[in-house]
Symmetry: C2
Subunit: 578 residues, 2 copies
């Protein structure tokens, strides 16, 4: 009989414990949880704040009683493990209620201590109206305070910050969302995040980027003033801190387990730490990125659960033959999703930012904005997609998508392809669900693959928006001019540094709004107006979403022009401009 | 300059033409279309009947003018191609309006003549109130007749029949759906189709299976009487025939092209027919099933479009280097979807029926009924899933799913996995979108993979519902007894022929409804009540959806019982019983 102790009873730890029991009826299994709850739904906490989830009980996925009755697993809550004696294979458990400590022996130890909210080192951070949201008691505190909060500042615009801000707005709180870097949702590429900013702003969220807080002060009415680095001040009845989390590794450190450069515990692909009797799972560990091979932190519930499950298999494997067949951790792929006011934002694989940070040169990208289903069936909504792939062999590297409907579906499909090392040629050939209300004969996933595969076949040369935008932004910043488009037009006016922009939309569309200095040749007139175009420099074609421009690119390429498509058309242009 | 003629201007033909133009600006391209419209949305026709799509114009995806102006492609409508002279590489085009014929030479010929509605050889089939729906004029006729139709019979319960029946109900028509075989939606396995029958019946559709029509007669009020083989009669103001389609191959046959056993044109993986200058795409061709390798007919719009696209690449490849890189047809996978009164029905890969027909022995299956998202977030709806996989290596072979939300998403993901020859172990490891409103840390796709992988690891032995059901049904049929459950109890009572059924749900759930002669041992009491169970024969465990029974299976297996899980629990039991 094996004695297996588990430190931390949420997500990874709870899953690991239940799986161990299923594989080993004879093992003794004990969970020690520092908090008062095990296995609670921390992903649901923002929605509990927003009253979308009304009953607190719903957040308790499993209780200590269930663990006892169903799984014969003992759960000790309010029990902090304060030390590990690796040599003697014992731990010290400190009961937070009684104040007493005791020593417990183990055969195998699983660490699942999770992560804790990062707390910025700012003057005034401990003032009473400043909250963080990680636990059920945290959410209770915020709910109790809500009737006095008219205006809140949410600090940190990642997934949690955005979800929290949305839910506060649902509770009629005015919300200002501030972010120290230059974009909200920093896990996405910036031009894709601009769609989110536009959307949440339309729903009343005030977003302020490049906003660094210098200190908090309390006003006589108990409200807070936030003093920003640039001298500006913000006033709020409450501040919610959501600037991210960091692995909780004090125990692992004390025990001398290997810690990675990012501050998480290092584990093997069987979730084993540097001690062969100790495993670690969940938010506290570093994981390898499946695509770049680099270590990273990826504190999400899905990976934590899978890690817990496979650690269990390896812990009991020598007793239950085959339990760990096909069970090594392949790393994280970066799949995530967020719902914000009827918009879904989702991503999988790597972003362009990540590739640049990893100095990964051989990639290309396409933008597209197809409908979630055919246009002739009522209610079609656009999905904004960016697909990133290896420019040598077409291997799919990542995708980001936003829209009102069908977004998680397409990202999930691309996630499956990335897992299977698929190429854009595989995406072209995907045979996906089609009926008029569900998609199109060329699904958005097919279209993304086709655009990319055409590029790789050299049938679809792509221009880089950044070539326009980067110089554009530099000029704007250096000269502090306000009219960005006017400046862009000056740049584009130089025939040596830039291409000739040809807008192939209709005259009406062009006149409504166009890229400065773009000339208008509607696609259906193009074959008769080739003489109007430059053969001296590159022609960059643009349309609404990129489709007509692709047809124009094909025409021009075959007529001997140096031509490129501005991928994703004016929709992508607007995303870059914002 | 190449002269490329295309026979048939819908789906495959239209896509092929546009793609040829994109790859070859110099080619001459002409489309001959027998009907009056090219590139219309035939998948939308049922919804045009149902007034979901209100304007007929919406159904015209592209017009002859668009083909001319945008693609420099000539479209000849009302133009039937009546003969091919392969030796001289010419065709005879008969203008249906002028009545004149002419000869046109080609360098390459593409056949995309589609399929026609099967017309049953039944007395009275040409009576005026009998309709079929394949074209815009067909739909116009039905719409015009609708105000006189109080009751319609839809004959044929495949995708089109069901969609049509749903849309007629939306127009306040009483609908009886009849099917000659023993289940509606015959492309699914029968127990999965039973969920559909229950659902559409709740929405007022009357479904009658095993209903063979002997003849139609007209009544004095112009209504119809359907005389069935079993002597029963049905009355209707109109009958809609939707018993399937067959390839339209008269032209190909006349030209002596190779025709397959299923009545479709045989093509290579570059869509080339037995004549190297003639290609064929779409509903008229036979395609290989990607999984079984067998030829089949699969008349859906998605494959037709992909076939047209890649035929184009091969036709122009010698002029445009690389156009056909990574472009061979990999066969059809069988992905399909149908929306019926807020229920989505979708499938990919092969069904159990197909595997049995192909004498494919090495497969296993799991049933599950997870929520589309976590239960603690409001509005979770079950998805009923059947996953079929190779029992030797775990390769995923097929999946069928039904539910109100998130169905197409999961089937699309599994479709991608099947395309990539993935195994159930890959499904286990899928990293899919998770936030409370979008899924679960263990997504339905993960769960399906886990159940199957556990079975393959011998941690999760499965019982076969058919072992209960088949003998059960036989007895019912032979003795014509009415109380099926009573008979089942007699069978189960025999300890030598069947297993001991152990229901591990709560007492209240058990008392509400249970399998005859199942004994009740709630999961949480199981460890203390092992002595009550038989060690002489197999123990088959059942619960609500299979999850508690899985835990019970693990407990019993480790305590030395011969145990199996009745996959999918009482939900699957009910599906089989219906």
């Amino acid at each position: 009989m094996k004695r297996i102790l588990i430190v931390g009873g949420v997500a990874g730890g709870a899953t690991c414990a239940a799986r161990i029991r299923r594989l080993c009826e004879q093992c003794e299994i004990i969970i020690y949880e520092m908090g008062s709850y095990v296995s609670f739904a921390n992903c649901g906490l923002p929605y509990f704040i927003g009253d979308v989830i009304v009953e607190e009980d719903k957040l308790l996925v499993a209780t200590p009683e269930l663990f006892k009755n169903r799984f014969n697993i003992q759960v000790c809550t309010d029990s902090q493990v304060t030390a590990i004696d690796r040599e003697n294979k014992t731990i010290v458990v400190h009961n937070l209620k009684s104040g007493k400590s005791r020593v417990e022996p183990y055969d195998a130890l699983v660490l699942s201590t999770g992560a804790e909210a990062k707390k910025p080192q700012i003057e005034g951070i401990d003032l009473p109206a400043i909250y963080a949201l990680r636990t059920i008691p945290d959410s209770r505190k915020i709910r109790a305070a809500l009737h006095d909060i008219k205006h809140a500042v949410v600090m940190g615009a990642g997934y949690l910050g955005l979800e929290l801000a949305e839910n506060l707005i649902k509770r009629d709180v005015n919300v200002t969302l501030i972010q120290s870097s230059d974009q909200i949702m920093p896990t996405l590429d910036r031009e894709m995040a601009s769609f989110i900013e536009k959307h949440v702003t339309q729903h009343g969220m005030v977003c302020q980027t490049n906003a660094q807080v210098k200190k908090f002060t309390q006003n006589t009415d108990q409200s807070l003033t936030l003093h920003l680095q640039d001298g500006e001040t913000l006033h709020a009845d409450a501040v919610m801190i959501s600037i991210g989390v960091k692995p909780r590794i004090a125990l692992a450190q004390q025990a001398g387990l290997e810690i990675g450069e990012l501050g998480g515990v290092r584990v093997s692909d069987t979730m084993q730490t540097s001690d062969q009797h100790i495993w670690a799972v969940g938010d506290m560990v570093e994981v390898r990125n499946y695509i770049t091979g680099h270590w990273q932190l990826f504190p999400l519930a899905g990976p934590a659960n899978r890690q817990g499950r496979l650690a269990a298999a390896h812990i009991v494997d020598h007793e239950s033959a085959g339990a760990s067949t096909h069970m090594t951790y392949r790393g994280v792929q970066g799949t995530s999703v967020c719902g914000l006011f009827d918009m879904t934002v989702a991503a999988t694989g790597v972003t362009e930012k990540q590739l640049q940070a990893a100095d990964y040169q051989h990639y290309e990208k396409v933008y597209l904005h197809p409908g979630n289903h055919v246009g002739y069936y009522p209610g079609a909504k656009p999905i904004h997609i960016k697909l990133i792939y290896d420019s040598r062999d077409g291997r799919v590297l990542g995708a980001q998508a936003l829209g009102e409907s069908g977004v998680a579906r397409r990202i999930d499909v691309i996630s499956a392809y990335i897992q299977m090392s698929a190429t854009v040629y595989d995406l072209e050939e995907a045979e996906l669900c089609y009926a008029p209300q569900f998609g199109a004969t060329k699904d958005p996933v097919n279209l993304a693959g086709m655009l990319a595969a055409n590029q790789l076949r050299d049938n679809h040369p792509l221009a880089r928006w950044e070539e326009l935008m980067e110089s554009h932004v530099q000029v704007v910043e250096s000269e502090q001019q306000e009219d960005a488009e006017q400046l862009l037009s000056l740049i584009l006016d130089d025939p040596y540094s830039q291409a000739q922009i040809v807008d192939v939309r209709t005259v009406a569309e062009y006149e409504n709004h166009h890229i400065p200095h773009a000339i208008n040749v509607p696609l259906d007139e193009l074959r008769n107006r080739l003489h109007e175009l430059s053969r001296e420099r590159e022609v960059w074609v643009v349309c609404g979403v990129g489709q007509r421009a692709y047809n124009a690119t094909r025409i021009l390429q075959q007529h001997g022009f140096q031509v490129k498509n501005l991928s994703g058309g004016m929709k992508t242009y607007q995303a870059f401009m914002e």
